[in-house]
Structures are given as structure tokens and as C-alpha cells.
Symmetry: C2
């Protein structure tokens, strides 16, 4: 409970900071930082570091993102009393320490986890000043859709909270409060506030940055004052935070915008001429960067320093290797070629080529001598035999992981995951799956993007051209190619986009021009692969609806669209 965790005010220890002249415009510092879930000491240190830097620039106010002290999202950790108490205690300590470090007079706004009088957890923001918690705000609107479960874990607030900064009234809001009508935005206008400060933990997805800017512009107009939006960067399990912190004035003019996917202290004088915002990444570059950040943070925050993956010579593993090298350095990436008797020469060549281009650690582990004993002992044939090849590769990767401490990367793409074209416990093994939310057609775009980037920088393109241009094949039997049993990828991905992302039914998909036979095939494949997706490793969400907590479907289900035609 907030009151219990408030330390005594410590005004005596707060030396005068460098402050602008009274009456001047406000200068804000938005601290776009990468918090680590549950690492209260590290997150507090991040606050101290950014406040030091902001204070050195003479700002009037420093703001951090939603739940910066705990990391975000905390999920059911919110329901653990010990975790809530650690957050409350950290908040009090941060307030006291900021004053001890000479920042007592500078208001600092942080997101944290608190609990109400009934002990129910709440998603809160606190204004820290003069060594104490000056005021707290409780998030009004709790998102409970898509990846969000906040109604499950939090009690909502309903009251507006403002604080004074040199005669300016600053109103508070947290993330979803901005996306929903009513509540804090309307209250900000009623209170005649001079600034609406919004703390966010807003995960990346394609095209969301455009939405975000126009939303901020609209809400600033509704609030009748400038709006400052500060967001997290970095990744937490399947979510990537892209930052994109920004400030707009009451007329919607963008005053400043932070870079995407990197930590930044964005300092903005509300009265100054708009500064040139950081350059925006194009759509494909943005996704690529999200994948790099997602992978890096999963590796680092989970205490790994290296990764291992199978290199087949195909586009998926070549792209994942390039992402991994960009994230943690090629010297920390271990690529394993695991050829079978069905592997083509070009596959083996392309795998080696990929490894050499990236400069990763490369080894060849043929599987024939591992597969044959299973096939013979168990009398396996057909698909059962094909799966054993994939599973022996899985055993190799996990063995190398156990022996050397590498994190295993699964290289499956979203299309494959959707239709179930992977072998569970085979190519699906891994702790993290970097491209699981990227459809095959996007995989090609990402590979071409990364190669173009290298060429523009005069460097070696990391992905072999042959891996991009050749027909995809699992090479589990002679001459097999994906298109033997699947529709062409552009058509397949278009049907999946309609079915998975937009929840279109069979009739709508056919009305949209898709071939009925193709639709029936795809829907059947998607529906029956749910059990496999449940056991697939996590990976970064980049689309509107990623497989995982974005899309919660029963495994046991006899629902079939084609049985319910109009």
C-alpha cells in the first residue's frame, strides 16, 4: 500500500538543482529505457543513471515508462505478495536515493506495481520528489485482449492525478488510458492541465508506430494541451518494445520523437521549435530490428552468451543466423549442418556459404549413422522415417546445447507453424524461435532487406543468394519441395492473413477471391496443428496476431469451417 511505503520527506538533503528561470517553458526528459523483468536493483540503477543525465541537462521533469521498476508485463507475478512488496520497497528506496544523489527537487515519474487497500495489485505511476512519493496514479483502463491480461491481475483506478512543475499542472495517464475514450484524457481537459504525461509499455507490431502518432495527436487535441509519450524499449519473452517515445503539442505538431528500438534520453523544451525527429525505419527494416532486439534480449536476460542452430542451406535458417549474428555477434553463433542422405549438394554448399558470410562457428554433423538404428530397430517407414531424421537433428542440437551451454534457436517461420509443416521435437526444438511470427513471404523480404543493407554499407551480404532464390524444401525425401503439398506461398500467406489475423471465415475468404479448395486445405491444416503450436518455443511478436497468447484456441475442437457453409 502506497502510504505505508512512503518514506519521510527529506527536503534537507536535497540540494538545489540547476533549474530554468521561473515562468519559462517546461523542459522534459523522457527516459526510453530497457527494463529487466524482476530485476529491481538493475531497474533502479537505470533510473539513477538516466536521472543523473537528465539533471545534467537542466530539465524540469524526468519520466520513465510504465512499470519500469518491475519490468513489463509481470503477468501473474503481480499476484505474489512478495513481488508487490519488493516493488513498493524499491519505489521508496528510489525516492530516497534520488534525493541523496542531489535530485530531490527534480520531479521523477516512474511506473511501478502497487496494491490497493484490499491487497489487489495495481498498475501505477508515482511522482518522486524531495525524497518521497509525492503522488500516485492508478491506471484506469486495463487491456485484456490480444497479449494483455491486465483485468486478470490488476484492479483499476478512476481518479485523475496531477502534480505541479514550476506552476505548470501535469496530468498522468498509463498506456491503455490513451487508447480508450474517456477517463484520464477527458479529465486532463477538465482540470485545465498544461501537459498530459503518458507512461507506456506498448509492444511493437507492424504499422503500430503510425497509429501511435496519430493517436497522440488526437488525444492532445482532446486534452487541450501537449502530450508526452514515453515507452519502453527492449524485449520480454515474446514482446518487443520499440520505444518510439514522442511529444506533440496541443495542435498535434510533433515536437520530438525518439529513435526506435534503442535506449534514449529524449529532452524536449515544450516552447522550442520542433526538432527533427529520429529517422524512421521502413516497414521491413523495422521488423528486422524487432527480431534482432527480441533475440538479443531473450539471450542476454536469460543469462546465455551463445546460441546454436541447424543450418540447412535454406532461407529460414540462413535468416535466423543473420539475425543472431546481428544480435550477439557471429562469434557467439554456432551453426550446425546436419546433412542426411537426401540432402542435396547445394544445401550443404549453401549452409557452409551462410556460415562463412556471417563468420559463425560452423560444424557438420551427418545424421545417417544416427537415424538408421532407429529406422531399423523400430521398422519405421514413410513420414515416420522422415520425422526421425528431423528428431535426430533435434537431439544433436539439444546435446550441443547441454554440453556447451548454447541456447537452441528454432528456425521455423509463421507459415510453417500455421500449417503444421514442422516436426515436433525435431526442427521445432529450441528455447527461442526468432522468426515464428514471420510468414514465409516476409522471410524472403527480410533476407533481401538485410542483404541490401550490407551492400549499401559495402559489406558482405550475410544470406546466400541461392538460399533466397531456390525452391524451399524440407529435404526429408528425394526431390521433395514444399510446393508439392502446399499452395504457392503468396497465396498461402494471403489466406493465412485472412484466417489467422483477421478471423475471416471460409465464406469470407472465398468471397475475397481465394480458391475454395485452397481455403479448405489451409483451414484444415491450421486447425489440426494447434497442439504442435502449443509446444513451440516463444518468439517475437511482430504481427497483429502472433501465435501464442495473442490467439488462444482449444486443441480439442471439432469446429470445421467447411461444415458450416452458408
Amino acid at each position: 500500500m502506497t502510504t505505508a511505503s512512503q518514506p519521510a520527506a527529506a527536503p534537507d538533503t536535497a540540494p538545489a538543482a540547476t533549474r530554468p528561470a521561473p515562468g519559462a517553458s517546461l523542459t522534459l526528459a523522457l527516459a526510453q529505457v530497457n527494463a529487466t523483468l524482476g530485476d529491481f536493483a538493475a531497474n533502479a540503477a537505470l533510473v539513477f543513471d538516466y536521472v543523473d543525465r537528465a539533471a545534467a541537462r537542466g530539465v524540469d521533469l524526468v519520466a520513465f515508462p510504465e512499470m519500469v521498476l518491475t519490468g513489463y508485463p509481470v503477468e501473474d507475478l503481480a499476484l505474489r505478495g512478495s513481488f508487490v512488496r519488493a516493488s513498493q520497497q524499491t519505489l521508496a528506496e528510489v525516492a530516497a536515493t534520488l534525493a541523496e544523489r542531489g535530485h530531490g527537487a527534480l520531479p521523477v515519474v516512474v511506473g511501478y506495481l502497487d496494491a490497493n487497500a484490499e491487497g489487489r495489485p495495481q498498475n501505477c505511476a508515482a511522482v518522486l520528489r524531495e525524497g518521497r512519493v509525492e503522488t500516485t496514479y492508478v491506471k484506469h483502463h486495463l487491456p485484456n485482449y490480444g497479449v494483455f491480461d491486465e483485468f486478470r491481475i490488476f484492479a483499476s483506478g478512476s481518479e485523475a492525478r496531477t502534480f505541479d512543475v514550476r506552476g505548470h499542472t501535469v496530468a498522468l495517464a498509463i498506456c491503455e488510458d490513451l487508447w480508450q475514450d474517456g477517463g484520464p484524457v477527458a479529465q486532463t481537459r477538465e482540470l485545465g492541465a498544461d501537459l498530459l504525461l503518458v507512461l507506456n509499455g506498448s509492444p511493437y507490431e507492424r504499422d503500430k508506430d503510425d497509429l501511435r502518432l496519430s493517436l497522440c495527436q488526437r488525444r492532445a487535441a482532446e486534452a487541450g494541451c501537449p502530450l508526452a509519450y514515453v515507452n519502453l524499449v527492449g524485449a520480454q519473452d515474446d514482446l518487443v518494445f520499440d520505444g518510439d517515445s514522442l511529444v506533440v503539442d496541443a495542435a498535434g505538431t510533433m515536437l520530438a520523437r525518439a529513435q526506435q528500438f534503442h535506449e534514449e534520453l529524449l529532452v524536449v523544451d515544450l516552447a522550442a521549435t520542433p526538432s527533427a525527429p529520429a529517422a524512421r525505419l521502413d516497414d521491413t527494416a523495422e521488423v528486422y530490428q524487432a527480431l534482432v532486439v527480441g533475440l538479443r534480449d531473450y539471450v542476454v536476460k536469460n543469462g546465455f552468451s551463445s546460441v546454436v542452430l541447424g543450418l540447412s542451406g535454406g532461407i529460414d535458417s540462413a535468416l535466423v543466423a543473420a539475425i543472431a549474428a546481428d544480435a550477439i555477434g557471429g562469434e557467439n553463433v554456432y551453426g550446425v549442418s546436419m546433412p542426411s542422405m537426401y540432402s542435396s549438394e547445394h544445401s550443404k554448399d549453401d549452409a557452409r556459404d551462410s556460415a562463412e558470410r556471417i563468420g559463425l562457428n560452423y560444424q557438420v554433423q551427418p545424421i545417417a549413422g544416427l537415424v538408421t538404428p532407429f529406422v531399423e530397430q523400430l521398422g519405421l517407414t514413410g513420414v515416420s522415417e522422415e520425422n526421425v531424421q528431423a528428431r535426430c537433428r533435434g537431439v544433436i542440437l539439444m546435446g550441443l546445447s547441454n554440453q556447451h551451454g548454447h541456447l537452441v534457436l528454432a528456425t521455423g517461420n509463421k507459415t510453417e507453424l500455421a500449417v503444421g509443416y514442422s516436426t515436433i521435437y525435431g526442427d521445432a526444438v529450441g528455447g527461442y524461435a526468432p522468426i515464428k511470427d514471420c510468414p514465409k513471404t516476409l522471410v524472403w523480404d527480410l533476407a533481401r532487406h538485410r542483404n541490401r543493407l550490407a551492400e549499401a554499407e559495402g559489406k558482405t551480404a550475410p544470406i546466400p543468394e541461392n538460399s533466397i532464390t531456390k525452391p524451399p524444401s524440407a529435404e526429408l525425401r528425394p526431390g521433395q519441395v514444399d510446393q508439392d503439398s502446399l499452395p504457392p506461398y503468396p497465396e498461402l500467406d494471403a489466406v493465412l492473413e485472412g484466417y489467422v489475423t483477421h478471423a475471416q471465415g471460409r465464406d469470407e475468404l472465398i468471397a475475397a477471391g481465394h480458391d475454395a479448395e485452397c481455403v479448405d486445405l489451409v483451414l484444415r491444416l491450421v486447425d489440426r496443428a494447434e497442439w504442435k503450436r502449443r509446444q513451440y518455443p516463444p518468439g517475437p511478436k511482430v504481427s497483429a496476431i502472433a501465435f501464442g497468447r495473442d490467439r488462444r484456441l482449444p486443441i480439442t475442437s471439432r469446429w470445421r469451417e467447411q461444415l458450416h457453409r452458408k
Copy 2:
């Protein structure tokens, strides 16, 4: 939208049913049925069958459980327009067909999925009479905790709905409406209703039946009238529904209670002397029955007819084999002994003994010739070598599954899952994990219970006594036993109960008398195994907090209780 899906009334086609004399007391039929998710035709057929049977007994009213037409829980299928329309259409067809079958005059209450005027899905009940949808009720209270995500997918209702049965006013409620104060129960009293009819999809967990009865008694008193509670039976993914439908009068006297875990048409004359309720199972018998139902429905509803599992000679696999045989018959169970060089003679003997007692299909697949090539080719040692043994067993089971169409059962218990003492992609492979929510100490209780039951019936005890009494061991190296690296199971399970089920922190656990070193070890093991649990197959929830959607925790987390001591 309900109005659009209502067919024209068809009174002409409704022949007179056998009805009690006007003014007599009500006779209800509660149809405790096993619906199948998404199988609208089968669920409609179930309604027709039970209404036929109820009508033959001259009842005044037939009631089915929550969402009987769709199955429950539908999860994000509720967000698919095609699925909602199929439910609405099925409702209209069922209404019309009931009249065509001669039941037009008999009010039939079913749960189904509808949508409001804005297109948002709603969890509804409908009264069907005279070939049409006479009235509909929308669930007021949407559970969004534990395994429930109803706030995510449904819009709530707020209005009371009653209908008339021969001059008696019957009020409606759905499941959570009964568990929350206010709403339909209070409205029932205000409306002076003569009966509160509650449709439920209430999953089994230990001790919940006692709660349920006392809740019904309390709510009947509040409503000031008798209360009829009708629940689903059967299983859906990780949830088992135990039925336990019951009727209490306004004074809380139990008038009738259906059996647990079986379909039943419970017919109750509200004015008659209370009948002897079906005998209740004791606590352990109840859990065992839940496991049998969970396994049977997962197998059958997913279209399998046989299962395969590894038989190690240990208690876990012996218990799972017994459950499987009880669920689908020993002749459909395939047990595989997969001895290594470290397997003891007693393990091989106990595995064979287990198979013989149950009468399952038994084979021996030694793993030495499969493991050695991996160990030699990759140079694996220590734990890496141990894991390859488990993974080769996984490849065997999956190979037999692929070749013969068996569903693979994972045999891990909750204690193992909690502390991460399993090999991912090894003994953790499978489509379903029957005892994943049973702590090791409960596994022993269940085994003894099942053997006692056999002995009481004069049959062969299915579980070898030696499997129950010997010290548990994974036998991955010579002489290894579980207690080398884990606290004694009773102590371990007690700490896990506090930490997992009751969300107690380190300080609380130590204050409760647990050894600090043991607590620190257990908490560390539990926290770092989250990633493995995510990839574990589903299995039946029997405890208050099962691993899975009951307990949603981040994988990436630096939160450690021991760093935040008081």
C-alpha cells in the same frame, strides 16, 4: 444477434405433450451431458436425445449446461464471426427441431454463444418453446481469473430474465453469476421467482464439490426459492467437468444430486421428498476419476483410439498405464520398456509386471544402440549424456506414434514439472500428460487407491507393489535416486503447495516452518524451469492452481525471492 436467428413460432406443429395437472409442483429434468467443443451437430443431437428422455418422464422443464451447443470453454473461437453464426443458427434449428419432434410445449433451456448489437460475443442461455427462442439471458459476471478468460472474449449482460412454467416463474443465471454477490441472485428475490435455474460449465478441482453445495444452499436462501444447478461432464483439453448437478430448496435442503463424472438425466419433483443423492467419491477416488475422464475425452475427442507410453518400472508410468487402461481399455494401451545400461533388473521386471497386470500391449526397445552413436559422434558427457538417453526414448515413442497412430502420453508428475526434473524432448514428449497436476505424494496415494479398489472387487491390482514402495529414480546414471538431489518428497510437495498454489513467498514459507535451505533450493528450481513447462503437453487440472493457463508467469525473469528477504 438473437432476434435475427429466431424462427417463426410453430405452434401448429407442436402436439400436446404429457403434462402434469395445472397447479401441481414443478418437475425438472437437469441434463448433465458431455458436449464436444465445436461439434454443433453432435451437441444438438445430445439435446434431442435428452429432451426425448425427459419428455417420456413427463417433466415440466428440461435444462442443459452452460454453452452446451458450442462446448466449453470456446476460448478465442468466440471471436470468429463464423463460429458465432454457427451457434446462432444451431440454436434456431434446435428450437425448430424440438417442436417437430413433438416437444413444442416443453420449455428447454440451453447455453449457447450469441453476439450483442455491436457484434461482441456473449455467453447466453435461451429458453426454447413452441419452435422458437422465447427468451434469452446474458451472463452477468465474467470470470477472468485462474483458467478463465471470459472478460477477454465476452460482453456481459445486466438484465434479469424469467420465463413461466405453468404459472411458476423461473429465473436464469449462468455459472459465475452464482459465485459473485449481487446480480441475478438478488434480482431473483426481487422478482419473486419460484425457481433459480443455473447453467454451469464448472471445472473440477479437489474439494470444489463441497464448496459448490454450500454455495448453492446459501444462494437459494438469498434468492428465496429453490435453486437448480446443472453442470457439464467430460473433459476439454486441460479441464475436466465433474457434473455434480444438484437441486436445493429455499431452506437449503438438498433435494437431489447427480453422480460425478458421468452423464445423467436428473429428474426432480420440487414438491417431493428429497431422494437419496448419488454416492460421493472420496477425495482420492474423485481425482482418479477426473484423470480417467480427462484422458478418455482427450483421446476420443481428438480422434485417437490408442495411446503409447514408456514403462520404466517406476510409479509414474505404472499409474499412467492404469489410468489409460481404465479410460480406453488395456488393449488400446501400448507400453514400451526402453532399458539402458543403467536400468536395474527390478525396473525391467516391474515394467513387465505392470504391463501384464493391466493386459496392455508390451514391447521392449533397448536404447544402448541408439544412444551410443550420439554420445560418440558429439562427444557428450555428464548430464548431456543422460539427456540423450531420455531423448532417444522420446524419439522411439514419437516414431511408434507416427507409425501406428497412437497418442503419446507423457508420464511426468507435478513435482517433477515444478522443479524441472525432466528432459525436454525426452521423457517430456507427448500429446497429453495425465498426471501433470498430481504431486508425487498424490501419485502414491492414487496408486494405492487404485490397487485397493481392485482388491475390493477381487481383481488384480494394476500397479506393482514394488513400483509403489521402491525409492524413485530416473536411472540415468548408476545408482542414481531422486533423493540424492531433491528434498524428501513430503517436504518438497509441502513447499511447492505453499509456493505454487498459495503464492507464498520465501519469508512466509520459512515462517510456516520450512527449512530455509530447502525453500531456497526449491524456489530456485521452480523459477528456472518455467521455459520447460511452457513446452509441456496439456493434462487434466485437478488442483486449485495447475501449471498452464492457471499460472501465467514470464519465462524471462530475474525475480528471485531470496534476493528480497525481509
